[in-house]
């Protein structure tokens, strides 16, 4: 779960990481009031995406009235595909230097990693590898001060500034662990005179740990259909094509989408009904696909734990309770295959045995429809 910048900064405040004075506004009036308190400000659109500056999502001003005007222009507008619902109004910083600092997970090392760079303010992907300092951490000892000293040395920092940056790193790590974060990123970390301030906050919380992170705000990134699928325990991603897909297992589902593309079609969604979905879950998944109004539906089941007769029964159940207005192509092999095929045959469907043949057929039907 990605947090908005202002939420990330609220967490920073809780952990004692310095952020610019200011606050979040949902109306131009609130923005004016904040600018009146703070003085010279930056107004920042709150969306779950970077590159806001390049798309006009960030503005600077010395006048509270103009801060209101900036907020009025940003609020409700669409930016990088997101609707801006809030703006952050903050004191404009005097910038002497910009650093990059982050904690994230290094999957290859299976450890948390500190990333730091003296080239802050730009996307970290654009910073050459040799200018990025990487320190993987042993979780049994966590982030120790000696690591922060080495990182600040390599950043070329000294004295009070080095101490502050080291202190911020330790606080970031505490937050990273206590909040089950996957990413805590400050870009830029601004050196302003003798002060070190987090000018931005990018925080992502591990979805799988939300059960024990109840104090956090809820940010919904999913579309309505994706949310519905999630509540059903299905893994679902909306895509742009016209062939609705259901398969079992993430790998087979991805491979099914690839096959559709291979034969020149486009999938409408990714839907992994799970490795062991029963009748009820499969039926609900099917209903979700119908709601997308696709030109064809492709069901690809390699039954291991999933039983082919369960899938066939789910299809029969949905077909009895509602009209299925589009052609359905089913590939069915594995556990209880013959039973499943017999049930489908009774419902007028001859199941395929090979997944690429089924995918090719679905593409052909979608093209004709």
């Amino acid at each position: 779960m990605k947090l908005f910048e202002y939420m990330g900064k609220e967490l920073f405040v809780n952990y004692g990481i310095p952020v610019p004075a200011g606050g979040v506004a949902a109306t131009p009036e609130e923005a004016v009031a904040l600018a009146n308190e703070v003085g010279s400000v930056v107004v920042k659109s709150q969306i779950l995406s970077g590159k806001r500056g390049k798309s006009g999502g960030i503005g600077f001003t010395d006048s509270p009235a103009e801060a209101g005007a900036l907020a009025a222009r940003m609020l409700g507008s669409e930016l990088n595909g997101f609707i801006v619902e809030k703006v952050l109004v903050e004191k404009k910083l005097q910038i002497d230097r910009e650093l990059y600092l982050a904690l994230t997970i290094d999957g290859a090392a299976r450890k948390p990693v500190v990333l730091a760079s003296a080239q802050g303010g730009m996307d970290i992907e654009e910073v050459p590898e040799e200018h990025i300092i990487k320190k993987t951490l042993d979780v049994t000892i966590g982030l120790q001060p000696f690591v922060t000293r080495e990182v600040t040395r390599r950043l070329g920092l000294s004295g009070a500034v080095a101490k502050q940056v080291a202190d911020i790193m330790l606080k970031m790590y505490r937050m990273f662990v206590e909040r089950d974060a996957e990413l805590v990123e400050i870009n830029p970390l601004v050196l302003s005179g003798e002060q070190v301030i987090a000018a931005d906050a990018k925080v992502t919380i591990d979805d799988d740990a939300l059960f024990r992170q109840r104090g956090l705000p809820v940010v919904e990134e999913r579309t309505a259909a994706e949310k519905k699928a999630h509540d059903l325990g299905l893994s679902y991603v909306e895509l742009d094509g016209d062939i609705a897909v259901m398969a079992n297992g993430a790998g087979v589902t991805m491979a099914t989408l690839d096959l559709i593309e291979y034969y020149g079609g486009q999938a409408a969604n990714f839907l992994d009904a799970g490795g062991g979905a029963g009748v009820e879950q499969t039926a609900k998944a099917l209903e979700l696909l119908l709601a997308k109004k696709p030109k064809a539906i492709l069901i690809n089941i390699f039954g291991g734990i999933t039983r082919c007769d369960d899938v066939a029964n789910a299809f029969a159940y949905v077909k009895q309770s509602k009209v299925i207005p589009v052609p359905v192509v089913i590939r069915l092999v594995g556990t209880n295959e013959e039973k499943g095929r017999a049930i489908l045959r009774e419902n007028g469907i001859e199941a395929y045995q090979l997944m690429h043949e089924a995918a090719a057929k679905a593409v052909e039907i979608a093209r004709e429809n």
Binding site: D180, D208, A209, R212, G249, G251
Partner: protein
């Protein structure tokens, strides 16, 4: 020989009395796996088809030699159960559950390393040494003994490919499910190194997907260390960036983990990559000169 699991491997099942646990234990026993004990806190003294159930792993370890364990435990409790198994000295721990917090996975991997335990998963279907020992949830019928080692990040796609191999007359030596999460105990490289040494394995099929860098690291390893042929299939060519495709680890983030990057790495290591899943057996046959 085989790798990780052998004909005489004695297996513990943590969470044996649950629905999922008891179903799969019976399947494992049917396959020939020596399941010697189960653990379910509060259910000590019961049994499942004659397999004794204990309250704690320590209690089971007093009575049995425990070589490997598998978790059928809800994700929030999986870390504690994993620590318990590692602490009791099992050599291989299969972490089946999906949705284990990534910080828990890192903690388990670190503790396991200090004790010399091999961690498989989380979010894995398990490991099987065909004809000898199965610890996991893969369907029994597709796993017949043979000379092809398979290592995969995903379950059903692996069954699909093993099914194709079996139909083409290629049995399997050991099949390892790495797991679909971002942090997993074993990566391709670890398993490739074992399979290179395993006299029963003549060729290796790796089934990868978008996200992370495990395939790229494997490519480097293959270039430097592998003499046996490796064939690959990768899923996720059509996946859009920034979207998690079912697996926590299957996501293209910040331009990293792309399909094209992985193909390029594998090709430069001389690994043939099948464009479609059913082409894998042909490539295996070609590599083995059959």
């Amino acid at each position: 020989m085989a790798i990780y699991l052998f004909a005489d491997t004695q297996v513990l099942v943590q969470g044996i009395t649950g629905n999922q646990g008891s179903f799969h234990v019976r399947q494992m026993v049917k396959y020939g796996t020596k399941v010697v004990a189960g653990v379910s806190p509060g259910k000590g003294g019961q049994d499942l088809d004659g397999i004794p159930v204990y309250d704690t792993v320590a209690a089971a370890a007093e009575r049995h030699r425990l070589d490997a364990s598998i978790l059928f435990i809800p994700a929030p409790f999986a870390k504690d159960a994993a620590f318990e198994a590692i602490d009791s000295g099992v050599k291989v721990l299969i972490m089946l559950p999906e949705h284990i917090p990534v910080q828990d996975a890192m903690a388990v991997v670190a503790f396991a390393k200090s004790r010399g335990t091999v961690i498989v998963g989380p979010n894995t279907f398990g490991v099987i040494s065909s004809g000898k020992c199965k610890i996991g949830i893969m369907p029994n019928q597709f796993f017949v003994p043979g000379r092809v080692g398979v290592v995969s990040r995903s379950g059903t796609l692996c069954y699909e490919i093993v099914g194709n191999l079996t139909a083409a007359g290629f049995g399997t030596s050991t099949v390892v499910g790495l797991g679909g999460d971002r942090v997993v105990g074993l990566n391709f490289t670890d398993v490739l190194a074992e399979m290179e040494q395993d006299p029963e394995t003549e060729a290796i099929v790796m089934v990868g997907e978008i996200g992370g860098s495990a395939e790229e690291e494997a490519a480097l390893f293959i270039k430097e260390h592998m003499t046996k042929p490796v064939i690959a299939y990768l899923a996720g060519k059509s996946a859009p960036p920034g979207k998690r495709m079912g697996h926590a680890g299957a996501i293209i983030e910040r331009g990293k983990g792309t399909f094209a990057g992985k193909i390029k790495a594998l090709n430069s290591a001389g690994v043939p990559v099948a464009e479609l899943p059913f082409q894998v057996p042909e490539l295996v046959a070609k590599a083995l000169g059959k």
